[in-house]
Symmetry: C2
Subunit: 361 residues, 2 copies
């Protein structure tokens, strides 16, 4: 088992990464106060992984389970309200620990519940998708969607610990595994050249779900993300580099109506565009831009926007992105593999040129 | 104008206390980012005080107003949802400042909205009741009620600044003024003997709403509360002394169904019981216990529980209080005027004896 420490003032916590962790009572015990636990999970994950978690926790605490329906459509205040009803109805107090067992949606919902129930109760995250293990489990972003916007309501709230069991990835569909790899490639691209090279040579082994390779990829991703978050917890500055590829990716997701493509797939195509733009602006060597595209291709992720999406679609949708502040568009670009910058130093013509090439038939 | 600084790591803020502050644009300007402001107020306060606030802010920012209905009954997730709808519909972004103009309910609701909108936007509090000025404006407690419990859903969230204009107290009904004075007396009782003596001599002037006396009482109260909160923001320990009189007070409020008596009235009677118990246990001199009762009496606040409420009513209701942890009842008691302790060192018989005397006809 590997352990990473996320160091935030007064709220540091460990991330445990390895196999056979779900059923390990010793991991839970030091993080559970007052011996009362509510496991929140969804209807897909519950039959797969709830049993070992509940058994492990019940050896050290009273444990109850609340199952929410699967799907991003349920990530809203109504679901939050249902969980509050259950917690109050079962006399959960301010020392009850909330455990999130599931992917990013379960984590976001449960984390927000933990942040708000009696103004904050202890929280443990058990991410069961690769994306959640490398992304949503680090950084403390919790929350729900509003009918007019994603993640509009939420809180920054840190867990007591994160338990990333690579065994849970065995049940993950191939497409979701690849979508998680897109975020992993991102960490290499923005701040870890050695990790990027390792990914280039080990991508086959990751796609084969080799547990050691997956554990290493998760470890390096969490380490990179935690270093960024430690510097800038509330995204006042450099935390924005974690959005590499995301402004283009969000435009793709919005254009597709948040269906058809997974988030990681949209981000993958977005990273290729961002690397292209970086090369076009002579910030990045063309050979390095090509390496990014090749690794994404080798992973089996899209390197181009969806068919039919045009340059003008990007330009219109990017104007509405919430990362665009006071009308000035800032993008995350690369100066080399392993080094990202936040820049608004590009002309509309340069951006349009790159978008035209990437959307050309 | 007096200024108190509440010093919390990374989130310090000033409290401005004085007259004619509502219309003072210079107070707002340094605390408003990005020039967009939403004033949240209620239907009672809006016609009285919104005009000067909106005028002052509009000289430095774009300002919009959202009016919620008056009353604790609206302090729930539905009202929160309505405000979110309005904010998203008017394109409020993560730099929009939320200004709470009103009493404790408006402050609690608006603060929770500010804590959760896009995971936190800047927040300014303008408390317009004495209770809100000395209590809810310091300490960062925000939140709403659940149908099964008060303040069950919320966050700790600190404002950019608090503006306490004593002019707003001129429209306050006498009973509410007195209810605010109950919390002021509490600060003297638990940690400020000199302030308690000052209150004994100045209570007439406070009841006459002398602005200088009120400003001094608010200043000392906020100073005391902020010192407690600075030591223990999340109520892990000594912050509990702020609950002096409150466990008994909550029992009274619950017994009355949260109608008839104001919170401050219930707390006043609760402080007399807590002082009686402290004397009964030989922690506190009987003469000091008498001084507390006399000051509460002079203020025109109740010194006894409501007629018909019995010792057994208290004992039953206190068991359900959320401050009772793991079945062990802890109360805030006094060792002298100006010195509170958290104690579970009393027998059931001693508690019952004191409750019997205070509820005897």
């Amino acid at each position: 088992m590997k352990t990473i420490s996320v160091n935030l003032p007064g709220r540091s916590y460990p991330i445990y990464i390895g196999t056979e962790l779900l059923g390990n009572a010793k991991l839970f015990e030091p993080h559970i106060r007052n011996k009362k636990v509510l496991v929140v999970t969804n209807s897909t994950i519950e039959p797969l992984y709830a049993r070992p978690v509940v058994d492990a926790i019940s050896s050290v605490a009273d444990v109850d389970t609340f199952v929410i329906p699967d799907g991003e459509i349920h990530k809203n205040l109504d679901t939050i309200s249902l969980i509050f009803d259950h917690m109050i109805g079962t006399a959960c107090d301010r020392n009850t620990t909330v455990v999130a067992l599931g992917g990013g949606v379960v984590g976001d919902i449960s984390g927000f519940v933990a942040a708000c129930y009696q103004r904050g109760v202890p929280f443990i995250q058990i991410p069961t998708t690769l994306l959640a293990q490398v992304d949503s489990s680090v950084g403390g972003k919790t929350g729900v969607n509003h009918k007019l916007g994603k993640n509009m309501i939420g809180a920054f709230y840190q867990p007591q610990c994160v338990i990333a069991d690579t065994n849970t990835l065995n049940s993950l569909p191939d497409r979701e595994l690849k979508a998680g790899l897109a975020e992993i490639i991102k960490y290499g691209a923005i701040r870890d050249a050695a990790f990027f090279s390792w990914l280039e040579s080990e991508i086959g082994s990751l796609l084969d779900r080799n547990p050691e390779s997956l554990a290493h990829a998760i470890e390096r991703s969490c380490q990179n993300k935690s270093e960024v978050v430690e510097e800038d917890e509330r995204e006042a500055g450099m935390r924005a580099i974690l959005n590499f590829g995301h402004t283009f990716g969000h435009a793709i997701e919005t254009w597709l109506g948040y269906e058809t493509w997974l988030h990681g797939e949209a981000v993958a195509a977005g990273m290729v565009i961002a690397a292209d733009l970086s090369a076009k602006l002579d910030l990045l060597d063309q050979t390095e831009s090509n390496r990014i595209k090749q690794l994404i291709e080798k992973t089996g992720l899209p390197t181009r926007p969806p068919t039919g999406m045009k340059s003008k679609d990007f330009l219109e949708l990017m104007k509405l992105d919430k990362k665009v502040q006071s009308g000035k568009m800032r993008l995350i670009l690369l100066t080399k593999i392993g080094k990202a910058v936040i820049s608004s130093e590009f002309s509309h013509a340069e951006l349009e040129h790159v978008l035209n090439s990437s959307t050309a038939d």
